[in-house]
């Protein structure tokens, strides 16, 4: 029904290899320029940790120093435990879903499946099965 025709093969396009090559060159050049701009320094920046609770953003100190409230220590230990317990559980959920997704994917039609059982040509078009 479409009243237009796609140009198929006769149009000149860019090859996949050239695209990958140009992308690789651009990434390398950008990285080198960033490195040069940073004065050929190591990428790691030993950062000054700044305490946002201090007026003017001064350098803070560890909260443990000078802590006189055992409740705070307990509270933070509790959150640590919650982080790890829930983290391990969330990881487990990821694996459960990952495995479930793989099983479900195995039940689906493989990519390129057609009713006649033949695989279509490289380009997957929607109306291909009519012909």
């Amino acid at each position: 029904m479409a009243e237009y025709e796609l140009p198929e093969d006769e149009v000149s396009t860019y090859g996949r290899a050239s695209i990958l090559f140009a992308a690789a060159v651009s990434l390398v050049v950008t990285a080198v320029l960033a490195w040069a701009a940073a004065g050929f320094d190591v990428f790691y920046e030993g950062l000054f940790r700044v305490g946002p609770t201090v007026e003017g953003g001064g350098v803070g100190s560890d909260w443990v120093a000078g802590n006189t409230m055992p409740a705070l220590d307990f509270l933070i230990a509790l959150i640590h435990a919650a982080d790890v317990i829930l983290g391990v559980f969330i990881l487990f959920l990821v694996f459960v879903h990952w495995a479930a997704f793989r099983r479900l994917a195995a039940q689906m039609r493989p990519p390129g499946w057609t009713r006649s059982g033949t695989t279509p040509d490289a380009e997957r078009t929607d109306g291909g099965e009519a012909e």
Partner: protein
Amino acid sequence: MTNLDHGKFTRMTTTFHSLLALDVFALFFTGYALMFNDHLWWLLVLMGGNVGVVAVHRLAGLGLIALVVFWMVMMLITDTGRSNFREIVPTREDVDAFVQDVKFMLGRADERHPNARQFAGYESDEVPLLSYVGKGVVFIFAIELTLLVVSGLLIWSKSGLMQYFATRTAAMAFVVFHGLLGIIMLMGVMFHIFEHGFHPAFYPLETKAFIPRRMIPESHADDADADGTGIEELSLASSWNKVANLMGVLVVIGITSVMTASIVDEGYPVPRELHLEGSPFDLLLTIGINVGIFVLFVGLVLSLYGNVVRRRWERQLREEREGPAATDGGDVSSAED
């Protein structure tokens, strides 16, 4: 056959979800650029340094408070909201669904429990509004957001905090507490991105949370005597295998890294124990946390993509309603079987 088979969220909910996602991503990017500064220094620099990032974090925090309050009021004043309370209460079925999911993973069950099913297909009526994971997400978000908002406001209002805890040390401890609390959500959101972006039937995005229920057909024309969900009728995308495995690996690395870092980098703003910068462990942690940030970025992109899909879906529905003859004629060819 459509794969949008159980869009059950209202337009209010889908819009809320998108706004909440944007806001929470802003909070993650700013908050963890501060907390995991040793590993995400570039993010902090990119966003204009400490002062700017703290300001944006507070602004996004205010946005979060507004969103949460809006949500609570909606749940209280509307019938739809109140009836949804029943939908989120965990039941025995949810426990069963979790157990069955583990069995399904091990190959000892043939299908997922309805309370776990994301793709319901022909059996969409059996599927509840929220899966057991969905209910968990609602509960954890409710508890976490409340605690984060309270601790965040206390940190912000110095005089308010000092009223309860007289020392600066206590204020520091609250910053630590606030950051550690967010870790649970950070890990949960990474899993959420994997769960709803990489299901084989919905890949690259489960549109349930983006297309409102008013715009989803209630039933399929051909589901009268169908057996099972009909997932075997769907074709797998050719890139699914590669991309889902890659994302699975990235999500696992991201979760493991932020979990480890939450222990190592505890003593914000100065680590409790000094560890050698540039050690192999530290390097791995840096890579892992950056992988985690990348996963979040993928989630942000997918959230925006969901809204693009919704716009397209809206336009297609409007075109079909206005004039069937004027459309592309796709209906005619699909009616052949």
